[in-house]
């Protein structure tokens, strides 16, 4: 559809039509840039769908090894309870990692908020939180495995640090978006700064904070399932062992357990988040 600035448009509408067509030009340029970027990184990402076709026999064999009808006969009952126990350990890692992160993200989040703290506290705190976010949980886990030894505690600490960085940022964004009039109402009664935060700010941001914390818990369960691969405890450790020894039926049991557990926790946390708002 062309938008001609024909006779019937008022000057104001003509300007708006011009702005409108310029917007469409920008949108088109944006799409072109995206396509260019995809082409540019095609080789680097090693995209070669032919490989999927050439290796089809291999893939079919692999898939056949994972088929449920197979693994049910292979896996003993005792092993099932062992894997479920490992999954539970993963969830426990996520619970404590998230809990410690929430505890720290509350003060750090407030210290990152320009409407609460002065710039000379905000800027350094933000940079530290940026660093915590920039470093992946896996990297932290590798470090903590060396520091505190193999096992779930390394995973808990890794999740704790990375999640603190994420939650502090999300928490402070919520704090910066509050309505200031209630806070001033609290201040006018002669309250202290801490009371202003507890009575004026926290009630306003609570639904968002709860929702963010639960969402991070969901993500942390998924992350904790992977952390085991570097020796930081949980079901990932077991899964990696089985995959490395080409024990696909068992590996598929473990993956099914992960899928079921993660889906259940996602559903539960979604329910809780709805409840919190």
């Amino acid at each position: 559809m062309s938008m001609s600035t024909s006779t019937h448009l008022s000057p104001e509408m003509a300007v708006r039509a011009q702005i409108e067509s310029r917007k469409r030009l920008y949108a088109m340029a944006g799409w072109l840039a995206l396509i260019g970027l995809l082409v540019l990184s095609y080789g680097g990402a090693g995209v070669d769908f032919g490989k999927l076709w050439n290796n089809r026999d291999n893939i079919a064999t692999l898939a056949w090894d994972f088929v449920p009808a197979h693994f049910l006969t292979f896996v003993e009952r005792a092993e099932w309870s062992f894997y479920i126990g490992a999954m539970w350990e993963t969830v426990q890692i996520a619970i404590w990692g998230t809990f410690l992160a929430v505890v720290c993200a509350v003060p750090f989040g407030l210290m990152c908020s320009t409407n609460v703290a002065p710039w000379w506290i905000v800027q350094p705190t933000r940079r530290v939180m940026d660093a915590l976010r920039a470093i992946n949980e896996i990297v932290f886990a590798l470090l903590f495995v060396v520091a505190v030894g193999l096992g779930p505690f390394a995973g808990t600490l890794a999740l704790f640090l990375h999640t603190t960085g994420i939650l502090a940022k999300l928490f402070s964004e919520a704090v910066e978006a509050i309505d200031h009039r209630p806070v001033e109402g609290i201040r006018a009664t002669g309250a202290t700064s801490l009371e202003e935060i507890v009575y004026g700010i926290v009630p306003q941001v609570m639904p968002l904070w709860v929702s963010y914390a639960l969402y991070r818990f969901e993500s942390n369960v998924r992350s904790a399932a992977v952390l085991g691969i570097v020796g930081a405890g949980g079901i990932g450790m077991v899964l990696y062992e089985e995959l490395r020894s080409f024990n696909y039926p068992t590996a598929s049991v473990i993956m099914v357990i992960i899928i079921v557990a993660v889906s259940l926790l996602d559903m539960l946390s979604a329910r809780l988040r709805k409840f919190a708002s």
Partner: protein, 283 residues
Amino acid sequence: MTAAIEVRGLTKTFGGGRKALDGVDLVVAPGEMVALIGASGSGKSTLMRHIGGLVAGDRHATASGTITVNGHAVQASGRMARDIRTIRGGIGFVFQQFGLVNRMSVLTNTLVGALGRLPQWRTLLRWFPRHDVDLAFSALARVGVADWAFERAGDLSGGQQQRVAIARALVQKAPVLMADEPIASLDPASSRNVMEILQRINAEDRITVLVTLHQVDYAVKYCPRTVALRKGRVVYDGPSAALTPQLLSELYAGDKEAVAALWGTSLEEDADSLEAKLAAGLS
């Protein structure tokens, strides 16, 4: 007797050099109920926020304003008093937009009035003494919203929320109550109700009330004394009853809109009758 509110030579300059307050002097005796009127932008809210210790005045040596409330210095020469939090505790403040925390219960919002005099370890645990809870309930009953004590403040109507804000000031036991445009966001019935409550606590508790209004008729009806501001200066300070359309148009000469707004909504809606009324007043 010390004045309830004493403002001397207060000046406030905002960015761009615009003077929001220009050498304001104001003395309010204990137990008075005074209206502060003026068109929007005349500086009445700015003055209120200075008296309440929420903003500091200019620091220029030439314009060193002082504010004293209940005999305690709130600020002098643009510097807040060191114990400003204690002093704020003695000044109740009611805002146009109520200043309540929507997601907290009406009761907790009311109890916030006690924060200034309670130890912090108690308030951070939200563990209020029994007699303060009783006081909050009786304050809510006085303003007629006790039945809503356990509702969220945000679920109440504007008029009810403003009454909760007044209950909070009552729990504060402040001898001075500043009400900044308390009825500007309310319908006429709620406005009268809120003004009557202010009048009642002024008469019964001898609480000094300074209330900003943007309509003269409310000032005339509820406050014996009115102070009028124009462009940051006090242009009238005297009995409200003396405020006639004629006097107003003299005070706000050359600003017909200000006169229209101050003289009431009925005129605002009908420009012709404003002209008629002004003509009648002038003839």
